[in-house]
């Protein structure tokens, strides 16, 4: 499976995006910390975090019995650069055309 596929797949699940959001708000959280309030068994969270790690969206670091999780924004940036940006450009072009046409009608 290609890297970019893993990232898209990882982002497909709302719980995983929620986890990323939480790490973005506070980096370096432990598993238990991330579990708190997530209405889901610890094992499920572990699994989600595993997928995120597979996609290189987070990295982990052990500290005694604690497993610390860190968010890595690089894959998201790559998705943006390699896949999303071109559509943004098209969209802006469309807006530009629209505005131009509008100005034509108003003239």
């Amino acid at each position: 499976m290609k890297e970019i596929d893993k990232v898209f797949k990882a982002l497909a699940d709302p719980s995983r995006r929620e986890l990323i959001d939480r790490l973005h708000a506070k980096n370096g959280q432990t598993l238990s910390e991330l579990c708190a309030g997530l209405d889901m068994a610890r094992q499920s969270v572990t699994q989600h975090l595993g997928l995120l790690e597979e996609a290189n969206l987070i990295s982990v670091q052990w500290q005694g019995r604690d497993k610390l999780h860190y968010f890595n924004p690089v894959p998201i940036h790559e998705i943006y650069e390699r896949w999303i940006r071109k559509f943004e450009r098209q969209r802006l072009d469309a807006l530009h055309d629209f505005k131009t046409k509008l100005e034509g009608k108003l003239r």
Copy 2:
């Protein structure tokens, strides 16, 4: 299911991203046109297109017996605005910090 969830789910599959890419390259293609070269039964493609339509990533228009497909960049833009942009910002900040520290060391 929330709108944004549908979009992320729709983008999770490589075949569906491929379809979007093709429509981006040439808008208004028929189903048969999109099937060509996709090593997949027509019905599967129909299903993928259905999901993309559900996510509002494409819209269709009938013309006689032909079903024309058009790409809509808006949902992708929304994903970018509401979800990706903040991570881009963090990333740029990180780069900036890095550069600043580096300059500190070089001084």
